[in-house]
Symmetry: C2
């Protein structure tokens, strides 16, 4: 792409272009920026990647990622062990943590079921979740999955599997986003928000 830039820079550009959010053009700009900021950015980034390579693991309990295993959340005694919040992806766990949305623990599925994309139950950490749900300490499983077809398919599938476990299975409410304007919401969200209305 850069032509005369040489194979080393070409390779750097091609690898950067595989990051989500960077296309070929922005990958070229990112590579140049890194090369210009060799000491201030490229060297620290190379180091941070190496630390991540060496130290980051998938938690054997919840499939969160961390440098500890079990992860910081799983080993945190202040977290409520009776509640497991099920998310598709670590990014969703991070979003809920930023929102301080729960004091419970998590379970990261790794994906949502997607028959069209060939993602089946065996590709998710569902067996481990069912096993955790049978722990007598656990009383509620909160399914914090996307309100998409795949997310809801996954929620139904898990709910069926958890019939045998002695747990309450709940899901996130549908409703008006905080700061959201009614006029911009789809009809499904509005109807759900009306049905699930709460006392003021």
């Amino acid at each position: 792409m850069a032509g005369t830039a040489g194979p080393e820079i070409e390779r750097l550009i091609q690898l950067l272009a595989r990051l989500p959010g960077l296309g070929p053009r922005s990958a070229r700009r990112a590579a140049l920026h890194l090369i210009k900021k060799r000491e201030a950015l490229m060297t620290p980034l190379a180091g941070a990647l190496q630390v991540a390579i060496d130290r980051i693991q998938v938690c054997k309990v919840c499939s969160n990622i961390d440098t500890q295993n079990p992860c910081t959340i799983c080993t945190d005694r202040r977290r409520d062990p009776s509640t497991i919040v099920v998310v598709a992806d670590v990014a969703d766990l991070w979003a809920l943590e930023r929102a301080h949305a729960t004091t419970g623990k998590y379970h990261v599925l790794g994906a949502t079921l997607s028959p069209l994309d060939g993602v089946g139950p065996q590709d998710l950490t569902i067996d481990a979740l069912v096993s955790r749900a049978h722990d007598s300490e656990v009383s509620e499983i909160i399914l914090a999955l996307n309100a998409t077809v795949d997310g809801q398919t996954t929620a139904h599938y898990i709910t069926d599997l958890l019939q045998e476990a002695n747990v309450k299975v709940t899901r996130l409410a549908h409703g008006v986003p905080v700061g959201g304007e009614l006029d911009y919401l789809d009809e499904g969200t509005l109807s759900a928000a009306m049905r699930q209305r709460t006392l003021f």
Copy 2:
């Protein structure tokens, strides 16, 4: 940002967020993608960055970047040594090379003059350009600078300095949209602009 992700992942996210084109949210996604693709992407990227850190240099002749010094273009005997194409940035050199717009050599200024941003002549490789222009081998200097105020200010400044040199000073034709940046142009426009270059 990611809260419980631990300082190592936080640091990786913060460094990625400093790449052009990635904000805080996309940096989190990029970090997660890298961690998930440890063998296929994170490890190769760390290696490519280290190679770049170790091997990429600024060409002592033209200020292009390359693992050779002088760079591949400066040492390429098939390139026309009588023509020097002056660009602000390596990204512009790459864009012209992708368009096969010239067989000449280059001179990378490093920036354009921008009094408002405190970028003066001493911040650009102008002295080296003037010195090269006095080489008897050189007969034409093509100013391939952005059609912005700063780009044209820089073109005028350089043209004045080159009065003493025995060279023809030209600039890209007005195929470049006013206010447009070279790096965003399609190859046909770039080639046409190069063919139709006019006396400055």
